[in-house]
């Protein structure tokens, strides 16, 4: 859902290959791209309007170290960018959340092509419209913090979900505190296409 498949290049397929051929080293030629099994056609009736399936040209690159070659979905699934939390009715970056933001900034600095979306979320208290604005302020505050740490603003987009997308359902601080959050979602990886 987050990425559009591209016809010539598939990162998950490459990663699957890297797993299947662990002996593959840098000196060896790249693994051959899988070829389609030719289907024998007993009666060669030409149907020019139908193009036969083709593998196309596979771009092949070294998979390298596990961490250096991640799709946006892998970055998100492995939670390499961590969630921050907020106080009730506040968009201020809490002191105890700065280390998390610093870690996110460090990671983004090491992965300079990753573009991210910062989502602002709120607990259910307050009106829906207010929480949309509050979530927006939370996302903006997190953006400002990351840019102050040297992350380019052009790599960051923001959105507010207000109270509409909670992670914990229930009434009480143990639920609300989890829902007052900023999520950092990788949208395109360094190898991703836009």
């Amino acid at each position: 859902m987050m990425r559009r498949p591209t016809p010539r290049f598939s990162l998950p397929a490459l990663l699957a290959l890297a797993v299947l051929i662990p002996a593959c080293s840098k000196d060896e030629p790249p693994a051959p791209a899988p070829q389609p099994v030719p289907t024998p056609a007993p009666t060669p009736a030409p149907r020019p309007e139908v193009t036969p399936p083709e593998a196309g040209e596979w771009e092949v690159a070294d998979a390298g170290e596990a961490e250096s070659f991640l799709s946006a979905e892998q970055i998100n699934a492995r939670r390499l960018l961590r969630v921050i939390h907020f106080d009730y009715d506040s968009a201020e970056i809490r002191g105890d959340q700065r280390a998390t933001l610093q870690a996110n900034a460090d990671w983004l600095r090491e992965h300079p092509n990753v573009r991210i979306l910062i989502e602002g979320h709120c607990d259910e208290r307050g009106t829906r419209e207010y929480n949309l604005a509050l979530g927006d302020q939370r996302a903006q505050a997190a953006t400002a913090y990351l840019t102050s740490l040297g992350i380019g603003a052009h790599r960051i987009e923001t959105i507010s979900y207000g109270e509409e997308n909670p992670v914990a359902m229930g009434e009480g601080e143990q639920f609300w505190s989890q829902n007052r959050r900023g999520e950092f979602v990788a949208v395109t990886s360094e190898q991703g296409t836009t």
Partner: protein, 458 residues
């Protein structure tokens, strides 16, 4: 009919004293103060018209339809906030065909009398309504409706019967107030009832004023929020989340009430929300963080032209139009907490409405007289209640009470009723009530149902 143009300027020297009065009203919750405010509002709205509604005359095969029709008309007239139904126990006995005993009707105090006659003509249901002025004994309105029942299931017949009752109510309200009643109108809202489990998806729905025919409009498989009906009742603007180039965006879309393909009105970076159609349907006010933080913007109804009208470091959200489109009420935290502000539709002459107390949101301007602004306000804990701000007296009246969050109020097109969202525990449902908080009733029950918007019948 008093026009909003004649109302006093909003910002006067009286504001300081008014603020004090209102403070007392809310903080001490003084019921006497409260009642005074509503008394004044009621005086402007006009006293309820005493109306008598004896059982409808029915042919043997139409008795069931006549009973349902009488029940629905009774309810509609009560909810209309225009009529006060005279106790049936004092009605004089009279048989169909005999002259109406006007002297006896006059002694009941009734000003209006409704006669209904329901019969079958083959497979056709024939309904006659007559509205009489008791004082003169004259018929002031009367309609005959015919509709074929052939091949209709019982539910479909009942729906038909309800509809004709609504049409009569709306005519009766029109006769006495000059503004058509709202029983045949509709409400747009957002529901998660058909969302796959574990997803936050919410889609746009529409239902009739009485909760009948709840039907889904969008199939975005995303979160829809905050619909606003065009004044013609044919289009709905709403907020939705949509994926573009991998990034989800909070966009403003428009869709025909009949469904179909939504069109994009505003999709700039950041969060775009809270669309509000202008009274003539040519513009839509929204809040958008296009320019960095939430500001009020105006769009044309194709989304091709847009203009930012607030410029303030605070968050400006939840815009709503005055009935003659020259002013916009909105919510801002520019003064510290979330409060109501009114500005000219040009963005100039911004002034705060003196409503003390906690967080305010969701203002909506009474659409006919323009003398009231309904809004929701924090009443402690996670409780929110619906209030009206009276622009004539600069005072506030509380309409709802009890536990939970009541928010997103929207006026009926005739400005006499309100629809709103009430969250109690994990259940959130759509409710309606009169402009004074009376006749509170729940319209939905399946799933969570939020952010209602009342619309004209197209």
């Amino acid at each position: 009919m008093p026009s909003f143009r004649n109302s006093p300027p909003l910002l006067t020297a009286r504001h300081c004293t008014a603020a004090l009065v209102v403070t007392l009203t809310i903080v001490s919750n003084a019921p006497a103060q409260d009642q005074d405010v509503m008394l004044e509002i009621r005086q402007r709205t006009g006293a309820a018209i005493k109306l008598a509604l004896p059982s409808f005359v029915a042919g043997p095969s139409a008795a069931r339809h006549a009973d349902l029709m009488h029940e629905v008309v009774t309810q509609d007239l009560e909810y209309s906030m225009v009529f006060d139904i005279v106790d049936p126990r004092v009605y004089p006995a009279s048989a169909p065909g005999e002259p109406i005993p006007w002297d006896s009707w006059r002694s009941t105090g009734a000003r209006a009398l409704v006669h209904g006659d329901v019969s079958m003509d083959g497979t056709t249901l024939v309904v006659e309504f007559r509205l009489y002025d008791v004082e003169t004994g004259r018929q002031v309105d009367g309609k005959r409706y015919r509709n074929s029942l052939a091949g209709r299931a019982e539910a479909s017949v009942n729906y038909m019967v309800r509809q004709v009752a609504h049409l009569f109510n709306d005519d009766a309200v029109l006769h006495y107030t000059g503004v058509r009643g709202v029983a045949a109108t509709q409400v747009a809202f957002v529901s998660d009832r058909e969302a796959p489990a574990g997803t936050p998806q919410k889609e746009l729905f529409v239902m009739n004023y009485d909760g009948e025919r709840q039907r889904r409009i969008t199939y975005n498989r995303s979160i829809a929020l905050s619909p606003s009906f065009s004044p013609q009742g044919d289009r709905i603007a709403y907020q939705t989340y949509i994926l573009r180039d991998g990034f989800p965006r909070a966009e403003i879309h428009m869709i025909l009430k009949s469904g179909g393909q939504p069109t994009l009105l505003l999709g700039c970076d950041g969060t775009n929300n809270g669309p509000a159609f202008s009274p003539d349907g040519t513009q839509i006010a929204v809040s958008s963080s296009c320019s960095g933080n939430s500001e009020i913007w105006l769009l044309d109804d194709t989304g091709s032209r847009r203009r930012q009208i607030t410029h303030n470091p605070g968050s400006d959200v939840s815009p709503a139009w005055s009935p003659n489109a020259d002013q916009i009420v909105f919510v801002s935290d520019r003064g510290g907490s979330q409060q109501l502000y009114v500005m000219d539709a040009t963005g100039l002459n911004t002034r705060r409405l003196s409503t003390p107390g906690g967080q305010k949101d969701d203002p909506a301007w009474q659409p006919v007289r323009g003398d009231l602004i309904v809004f929701t306000a924090s009443t402690g804990g996670n409780n929110f209640d619906i209030f009206v701000y009276d622009l004539h007296t600069d005072r506030v009246h509380q309409l709802t009470r009890g536990r939970g969050r009541k928010e997103a109020p929207s006026w009926s097109p005739d400005g006499r009723q309100l629809v709103f969202e009430w969250a109690q525990g994990s259940s959130v449902q759509i409710w309606m009530m009169g402009f004074d908080g009376s006749h509170q009733r729940m319209l939905t029950s399946v799933g969570s149902n939020i952010t209602p918007a009342w619309g004209n019948r197209p």
